[in-house]
């Protein structure tokens, strides 16, 4: 599988480290209920199909990416820098 890094170009997956779901957003710890915090920390969807996930280009540009991938086909629809959206920044 090759991931089209927006900084480096298409690179083999071995240059990247996988983190997981890019969607969870950390709730405000002072306000959130215990259940909301539990959901954030432990509960993960495992969709068959389109999935937004975090990958780290450790052997390349050292940037975190949000990769939109079909988990059934490995077809990658988009790979964007994670930083501007802060997507999953606290995951």
């Amino acid at each position: 599988m090759r991931i089209p890094c927006p900084h480096c170009g298409a690179r083999d997956a071995q240059e990247f480290t996988y983190l997981g779901d890019a969607n969870p957003k950390r709730p405000d710890g002072m306000e959130a209920t215990e259940a909301a915090m539990f959901d954030y920390v432990y509960q993960r969807d495992n969709p068959a199909g389109r999935f937004r996930e975090l990958w780290y280009h450790g052997a390349g540009c050292h940037a975190w990416l949000v990769v939109t991938r079909d988990t059934k086909t490995h077809a990658i629809e988009a790979a964007e820098p994670a930083k501007p959206t802060k997507a999953g920044a606290a995951a």
Partner: protein, 220 residues
């Protein structure tokens, strides 16, 4: 304190001799296939190397200083800006390597850039080889996943990648007498491992190794 005691203290001080990153790894001369060398490898020594990292939005100020002081355009894509004696190589978003051909005045260069980026001197932490020759692309293709064909990797292109599980920073310099010229940089502690891979890959083409005079200091 007696004179004798002072003398014996001095005698016990360890001698600190600068040692090339390639010392004990490279041997000058040829290896592999006989005949004209298809691949050449030249050790780089005495480079001034620093990593630069800017804070969010700090690119513009650093770019201005680089242009004014060194005439170098700060690359925002995987490129290397090269001028006489200096190079500025992209190293990821907001990150660069600043390289000087020698360390004379390097501290002044870094001082002039202070405040514009987080700067760390890497001069003794990296090992650099200049690789060239008719067959260099064929030798590198055995482990380098980057497409180095001239249509894909022109003079001034750079890349960060992994070869034989070793982190590598590479860029293409101006062509030389043996065609395309690639600079390969690895962490100093990985120099032996990188050479183990490269020498095995280059042997079938015949490889000429050059160690510049200044680089021979502290060999062995």
């Amino acid at each position: 304190m007696s004179d004798a005691a002072t003398k014996s203290d001095a005698a016990m001080k360890p001698g600190w001799t600068p040692r090339s990153a390639w010392a004990g790894i490279l041997s000058e001369g040829s290896f592999g296939a006989k005949g004209p060398a298809g691949v050449t490898a030249t050790a780089r020594e005495g480079l001034g190397i620093a990593s630069l990292i800017v804070a969010e939005g700090g690119d513009a100020a650093l770019a201005k200083a680089m242009k004014a002081r060194f005439g170098l355009a700060l690359p925002s894509t995987p490129q290397a800006a090269i001028s006489a004696g200096r190079a500025l190589v992209w190293a990821g978003p907001g990150q660069w390597l600043f390289i000087a051909g020698d360390r004379g005045g390097f501290a002044d260069d870094l001082q002039a850039l202070s405040g514009l980026a987080a700067i760390a001197d890497q001069s003794d932490g990296r090992a650099v080889l200049t690789l060239s020759g008719d067959k260099i692309r064929a030798a590198l293709a055995k482990g380098c996943m980057i497409d180095l064909h001239p249509s894909a990797f022109s003079v001034g292109s750079s890349a960060l990648t992994s070869i034989a599980h070793i982190g590598v920073h590479l860029w293409r310099a101006e062509d030389g007498p043996n065609g395309a010229v690639f600079e390969f940089m690895v962490a100093r502690s990985m120099a032996g491992s990188f050479w183990s891979w490269f020498s095995a890959s280059a042997a079938e083409f015949g490889c000429q190794v050059t160690i510049p005079r200044a680089c021979r200091v502290g060999r062995g």
